[in-house]
Amino acid sequence: MTWAVETVELSKEIEGVQAVRDVSLRIPAGAVYGLIGPNGAGKSTLIRLLLGVWRPTAGKVLLFGKPAVDPTGEARQGVGFVPDIPVWPNNFRVDDVVRWHRMVYREWDAKRADALLDLFGIRRKALVAHLSKGQKMQVSLSCALATRPRLLILDEPTNGLDPVVRREFLQLLVRQVAEDETTMLFSTHLLEDLQRVADHIGVLFQGRLLLSTALEDLWDEAKKVMVVFRPGAEPDVSAWPEVWRVQREGRLHILWIGKAADRVLERIRALEPVYWEAVQPALDDLFVEMMRREGYTYGDLELA
């Protein structure tokens, strides 16, 4: 199988700091992959590595099976990119940005670009440098969508946008994925966007990929189990490898299970507990547990 994005033990060191370490990431075609992590986790670095703008210290990146570090740039044909801060030469007008994309991308769809820019109400003659951050993002997104990408990569697309524009952005992204079956990767530090739009999720923390899975699988694998064992038959649940954390309130055990919940539930059932119930944990609680398990402070993870 060819993955839309595949990285193999990717590492990047910048000035002695390991910004990304040993990231092995696979995104199937058609997935909406949300990359989440606190500021400074290495999300932008990873994205630049994926695009081949930066060279990895070790490992490699494949886009649809082709190396991303490509002297001809052909590997990025069909890969749209919306940077966190769009930068254009000072004398570029919106028209010029559009023209650049038209010249560079083979699948350019002028009608779509016009329609999107009209939707956002962007003046074509405006200097890009004079636009607000939100408008720059709108120009960037319009151009990226008009290239009819097979893969769309967005670096913090909703960061710093007002709620209306943010909603508009998410709607456009969903539509793009639904219409063109585009594979999408976006980074964010907002769980809310991720939960809405993504069907795959990657958690990046201090350069390491803690988790990379389909949300569906995560719901199957991860559970919060409340259980009251029979007196005298209380097992040492904290020793079970699948259990991330045990909270106790009286005789009630609350177990956070990160993976293979089925197996754990079987074992619990075999012990014939007085009472047990498994619920789906909220994503933000799961993250908190994940970070705690890794021994990290999670105070800077914004769980909005």
Partner: protein, 346 residues
């Protein structure tokens, strides 16, 4: 679909952002020939004014009269290639698209170089045409040809060096300084340093060695090949410059392939360019401070204390080195303290 040829796109983008600097460079370059001819033609019906009949031929006879401007123009062409990239840091946005690094660097090089050569050719043709019209072409056709060839090759080398300086330094300001130093200043700097040391220890160092070092230093500044007639019309130096241009081009392509563009899209790989600048400054300080200290010591020794003879060379070398070293150490710690202070205040 439209035109999607990347070459056009990169060239168009370069045109869009560099046109201003290119026009400036073309203007500077055309000043000696085009502007003078136009001015002469406008101000006094020139063709007959005897003082101006030789206007064009003079250029061939004495290239040094305009060479400095041409070198400056070629340097602007070279520096323009990356100047704006560093000032607005837009290069990562370009490289994130389906554009190859080699294409970007080759297009940048090619655009600037072709414009430079085009403006040069235009100037040469007009100058020759005017000379012929005035009946002043006695310099002979081969000499015009050599003139053009030497200029073309020499300016290519200047352009290449400026291009490389732009690519390696990563900020507009350091691009400018580095290019200026490499093109105009290397030989002068070496000559100052060697002269100073040579004078101080004239009784001890062989004067011929100092002199030959001074002579050789001239070959290090590209601008010298344009300014000095003996080098300018020399076939050998043409070959040297051609080879240098080729090497610089290769270096530029190879290093652009590996350009990391970390830290907000700046060329962070070549931080050693900064270190080299610090080293140049340090050596300069060392020599000047050492020389100043030694001279003052010698004055004291001879005038105040009344000794006729200078102290032995070893003593003076020791003094020179220790005073210079002390000055560098002092400046270094001062700079470190200043940097720390600045950061701690932030």
């Amino acid at each position: 679909m439209g035109i999607w040829n990347w070459h056009n796109a990169v060239a168009w983008r370069d045109w869009k952002q560099n046109a201003g600097m290119w026009f400036m460079a073309a203007g500077v370059m055309s000043f000696p020939v085009l502007v003078r001819i136009i001015a002469v033609g406008l101000l006094q019906s020139a063709v007959l004014a005897p003082g101006h009949r030789t206007v064009a031929v003079e250029l061939v006879r004495a290239p040094s009269s305009y060479a400095l401007l041409w070198v400056v123009a070629a340097a602007i062409f070279g520096v323009a290639a990356f100047w704006r990239e560093w000032s607005h840091q837009g290069l990562p946005a370009v490289l994130a698209g389906p554009v190859g690094r080699r294409q970007v660097v080759m297009t940048k090089w090619g655009m600037g170089w072709l414009l430079l050569q085009g403006v040069l050719l235009l100037n040469v043709l007009v100058a020759v045409l005017v000379a012929v019209l005035l009946g002043e072409y006695e310099a002979g056709w081969p000499s015009y040809l050599y003139w053009w060839m030497s200029s073309a090759v020499g300016l290519s080398a200047v352009y290449a060096l400026a291009f490389l300086a732009g690519l390696w330094t990563g900020t507009p300001r350091s691009t400018g300084w580095t290019a200026a130093f490499l093109i105009f200043g290397v030989h002068a700097w070496i000559q100052w340093m060697t002269t100073l040391v040579g004078r101080l220890f004239s009784d001890w160092l062989p004067a011929s060695a100092i002199e030959s070092l001074r002579q050789w230093a001239a070959y290090l500044s590209v601008s010298q090949y344009m300014v000095r007639s003996d080098l300018f019309f020399n076939g050998g130096s043409r070959l040297v410059l051609l080879a240098a241009t080729a090497v610089f081009l290769g270096l530029a392509v190879a290093s652009f392939d590996r350009l990391p563009l970390e830290r907000m899209g700046r060329a962070w790989m070549f931080r050693w360019a900064e270190k080299a600048a610090v080293a140049v400054g340090g050596i300069t300080l060392f020599v000047f401070a050492g020389a100043l200290g030694l001279v003052m010591f010698q004055l004291l020794w001879q005038l105040r204390l009344g000794f006729g003879e200078l102290p032995p060379a070893t003593v003076r070398v020791l003094l020179f080195v220790s005073i210079g070293g002390a000055a560098v150490y002092l400046a270094w710690s001062l700079a470190k303290w200043a940097v720390r202070r600045r950061y701690s205040q932030v």
